[in-house]
């Protein structure tokens, strides 16, 4: 368990720092001719990045959980055989 879950924690941390850096470097300085439109675009891009981060995070955790359950079942079947 430990290595897999620690890996997820590490991934979440690294991707969070990377996301903050990308937002600061590319989203915040974004300039559009219309300042209101620029503001809305920044909020949408920031929210989109956060949603993508959460989606990847959830996908990894779900996959890890069901793969571990599957592997455990296979091991039990093999042990019984």
């Amino acid at each position: 368990m430990k290595a897999g879950l620690i890996g997820i924690v590490f991934f979440v941390w690294v991707s969070m720092l990377f996301g903050v850096w990308v937002t600061w470097k590319f989203v915040v300085p974004l300039q559009l001719p219309n300042p209101v439109l620029g503001g809305v675009a920044k909020v949408w891009l920031g929210a989109g990045l956060a949603a993508l981060w959460l989606w990847i995070w959830r996908k990894i955790a779900n996959t890890y959980f069901w793969q571990t359950i599957k592997k455990k079942k296979q091991d039990t079947v093999q042990a019984c055989a």
Partner: protein
């Protein structure tokens, strides 16, 4: 520096001693009990031991004010935030609040910080430094209190898990507060750490006292308050990652806010051997405990040990984050 450390030690010891004495007194007075569902004998355990933490916290923060009178506003904001969240917990312990009402009420606990103006709208970010969020920050403050409060509440499922993991989190915040030169915040961390370690004595496996929602919501809201007052928002998010993971997985697998009691398909099962096992029911919420148990059944103490390892890892990453913040700020 020596004077600061001496003050932190005094505040820590006051929190430790008063909570140690207050917990048995508090549970005797309230008389509320709960069943320890993760034991085959299903023992009945006194609940609302969190009231003892509240008494210890009031005493320790009171001593902090005597030692550092210039930080009175910060101490008041911290203490009232904790007590309001604790009050919400008392209501929830006596008459179960709905899954939507509880987060809303805990969000109200941020009002003392907001009204006393003890926050800075320029939080620190790693590698970047200070970011100006003058307009947005006050709107984020309710989340800064409600999210940790409810995340800690959701983690309080096994004997000793809440006080042990939260002690690591608060210990990390204490180190970061000292590194950031936030001595008043460090004093508040020392107060809460003392209270939690004393409570751990009663809550550790096999638990003799449960904290109740009064304890878990109060401790979680206090961590949120420490993060906002001490400008350690990002550090607190990183150190709280196992708690956030647990809440996030649970919420996304159910698809809405939920109350533990309303879950029909339980995420974990108690085996005849006394071990805990992950449920394979696809409708059960995917909690951190269930993920840990996916690899095979474990004893309750072993699951808590896994919680501790994960919290230590996230706290180590939080310390690296704090170092990156200091680099960004140019200290």
């Amino acid at each position: 520096m020596f004077t600061w450390l001496l003050e932190f030690a005094i505040i820590f010891l006051i929190g430790l001693f008063i909570t140690f004495v207050a917990v048995p007194f508090a549970v005797k007075k309230t008389g509320i009990t709960g069943v320890d569902v993760h034991k085959s004998t299903k023992p009945v355990i006194p609940e609302m031991g969190g009231l003892g933490i509240a008494i210890g916290l009031v005493a320790a923060v009171g001593v902090s004010y005597i030692l550092m009178p210039t930080a009175g506003l910060k101490f008041a904001a911290f203490l009232f935030t904790a007590l309001i969240a604790g009050g919400v917990g008392v209501i929830d312990d006596l008459h179960t609040l709905g899954p939507r009402i509880k987060p809303l009420l805990t969000a109200v606990a941020c009002l003392p910080i907001l009204l006393l103006g003890t926050f800075s709208s320029h939080p620190y970010f790693p590698l970047i430094g200070r970011i100006r969020l003058t307009v947005v920050y006050p709107f984020l403050l309710p989340f800064a209190v409600a999210i940790p409060a409810n995340a800690v509440n959701m983690m309080d499922v096994l004997n000793g898990a809440m006080p042990a993991t939260c002690s690591i989190v608060i210990g990390t915040l204490l180190i970061c507060a000292i590194l950031f030169g936030q001595h008043e915040t460090a004093a508040m961390c020392a107060a809460l750490l003392g209270c939690l370690l004393a409570f751990y004595y009663y809550n550790r496996y096999p638990a003799r006292v449960f904290s109740g929602d009064v304890g878990s919501l109060m401790v979680g809201a206090s961590i949120g308050a420490l993060a906002s007052i001490g400008r350690m928002e990002v550090v607190a998010i990183v150190t709280l990652l196992p708690f956030i993971m647990n809440a996030f997985y649970g919420l996304t697998s159910i698809g809405r806010l939920y109350e533990r009691k309303e879950i029909v398909s339980r995420p974990i099962q108690l085996l005849e051997t006394g071990q805990l096992a992950a449920s394979t029911n696809p409708n059960a919420p995917i909690t951190l405990t269930r993920i840990i148990l996916a690899a095979g059944p474990l004893r309750e103490q072993e699951v808590v040990k896994n919680f501790l390892i994960l919290t230590m890892v996230s706290s180590f990453l939080a310390l690296i984050t704090a170092a990156l913040i200091l680099v960004g700020v140019g200290v």
